[in-house]
Symmetry: C2
Subunit: 393 residues, 2 copies
Amino acid sequence: MTKRNPHMARLSANYLFPEINLRKRQFLAQHPEVHLISLGIGDTTEPIPPFITRALTEGAAKLGTREGYTGYGPEQGEQSLREQIASKIYQNKVPAEDIFISDGAKCDLGRVQMLFGNEASIAVQDPAYPVYIDGSIIQGIKTIVPMPCNPENNFFPCLEALSRTDLIYFCSPNNPTGVAATKTQLQQLISFAKANRSIIIFDSAYAHYIQDPSMPKSIFEIDGAQEVAIELGSFSKIAGFTGVRLGWSVVPEALKFDDGSSVKADWKRVMSTIFNGASNISQCGGQAILTETGWKEVEALTTFYMENTRLIRDTMRRLGYEVFGGENAPYLWVRFKGRHSWDVFQEFLEKFHVVTTPGIGFGPEGESFIRLTAFGHRENVLLALDRMRDGKT
Amino acid sequence: MTKRNPHMARLSANYLFPEINLRKRQFLAQHPEVHLISLGIGDTTEPIPPFITRALTEGAAKLGTREGYTGYGPEQGEQSLREQIASKIYQNKVPAEDIFISDGAKCDLGRVQMLFGNEASIAVQDPAYPVYIDGSIIQGIKTIVPMPCNPENNFFPCLEALSRTDLIYFCSPNNPTGVAATKTQLQQLISFAKANRSIIIFDSAYAHYIQDPSMPKSIFEIDGAQEVAIELGSFSKIAGFTGVRLGWSVVPEALKFDDGSSVKADWKRVMSTIFNGASNISQCGGQAILTETGWKEVEALTTFYMENTRLIRDTMRRLGYEVFGGENAPYLWVRFKGRHSWDVFQEFLEKFHVVTTPGIGFGPEGESFIRLTAFGHRENVLLALDRMRDGKT
């Protein structure tokens, strides 16, 4: 009889968002008159700007014409889109040949995990996006080394104390802490990976939110990264494409396995075997984002969300909260020393009618933190802050 | 140093389409004046019909409005689309709760392979779509049992001779043979799976092309399938959505592992961990396909491609070719007894200036066959047939 995949059984229950929803429902059942505001949402809320929307509608419309119809696209994605990413996102520090278009970073993570198989050992920031660990467990990974990131180490792992792993997942700016790594820190990370012959899986999904011009938006801004890193990028948070689905990966030609064989060649094979390209309509949208007009539109979107972030950060700091992150990312990481994150979650829910995300959902180091996000309509953000300022709803 | 995934090394080189392209290029280099016609293409060529195209453009346009904007969708896909699939495709023999929307069957296959892990044994039709085997090898599957399908067994495997496996991949109508299984055959397959406690992965990507009303379009038309089968469906060949990316899977509540645990629960976990939904725009297109107007449009598309199939089949039979398939699928499987498929490919290329697909690319049983497809503009199909009729170009 067909056995359950033993790796699936090793997954811990995914209780975070179900538990949040349960607590919301329970609260609303007792207080049906309450208007809850979410500052916990990790999803974009503002419409796609007009020039980019028009490219999407035109991309769809041309599929209805004989001249404009396209079926399966090129295996690595539209060549022109790959060239635009190379020039606009990477200032040609990365060649178009090393770029693969995808339906988003989460899906690419699953395929990266399939690429490296079940014998690889991995290191993961703690706290981190849960998919690094969950996807690896499904794939059969046994050795998972946490890299604690907290205020005491400025949210950068203590590399000297870290044992060697085959892969190092590193997300900057980090979700959930909202803290981005400096150039020096990324140089240290690359040196560490080189010394250990590890491969860095660099998640740059929030790079577009970096405001400090001295901070790298890509690991490929650092010398030597080409030999040790893969980068996963996404249009989701750049342009409100979370539902449209569009992202990319960079797997450099120079990246090799211990036997000298090409990581990119294997990646190409994985991508062409169990993936079939991002939607042609979404790719038209991506092309528009990377034009001059489109880029101005998405810059304005980012400015909007970062103004939300600033409002939340400044208000909460004035109110005496211990707030981290939020300078270069749409995420804020708020500490409540000595308390449990679920208790803080419950307090915000009951006292301010504000929904947050308990930090413990992102790893043991997240205990006593909550995550707040900048995604939301302005009036909701302001109302939530009013409630906190008044100390009650 | 990071090791290459040993499973990747077990993949045989993917030479089929690269080799076809190489031979085309070589021929055109010597005969630059020639207009080659492809009867080998596995991709749709006709535009998306107007009502469905309009739904795609409207789905894109509303993302530019505050009221119409959506980010991440529900984990299993839009509820209304799942309900439409349940009623239109499955006449409610399958509940919407068991349906998961995806970006296509190829991608779902990769996730199914991840679901069952690397310890499962599998059986695969020979010839078959190469992804069943290649994706399984990447995942680390060791035991792969071929199920020879040929004119001698009416393209249905001899189940009595077959050893037990955990999974049985079964595609009907089959790509490349173009032959669909009868109700009796599927009943036998289900009985076999029940007796062996195997799970059938039923690929119904071409089911919409079935013309014979007595033939099942879904394995769930057969009693008992709910306890032994998963089905993967696709809008690609129904509506020319190969580039738009939209499909679905059905994982019945009643399907269990040997420990009694739910396959669907694990599938839900895989889908929510390493997938993030089909594009919201594509899903709007899917909803339009399943309306009365949209369905009429796609019926007309199918009729068009099946008329191509009929033209090729009838002409070739009149010319004395031994043609199989093509009654209930857009694929024709032509035998050249005693010859190698690559030699036949070369002959068609040189003599008729027609590109075909060598059968050997789909498995050992494909040797001495070529695959022809019905996807193509009518005038090209007619021209290719003229060339064959004239015995020369």
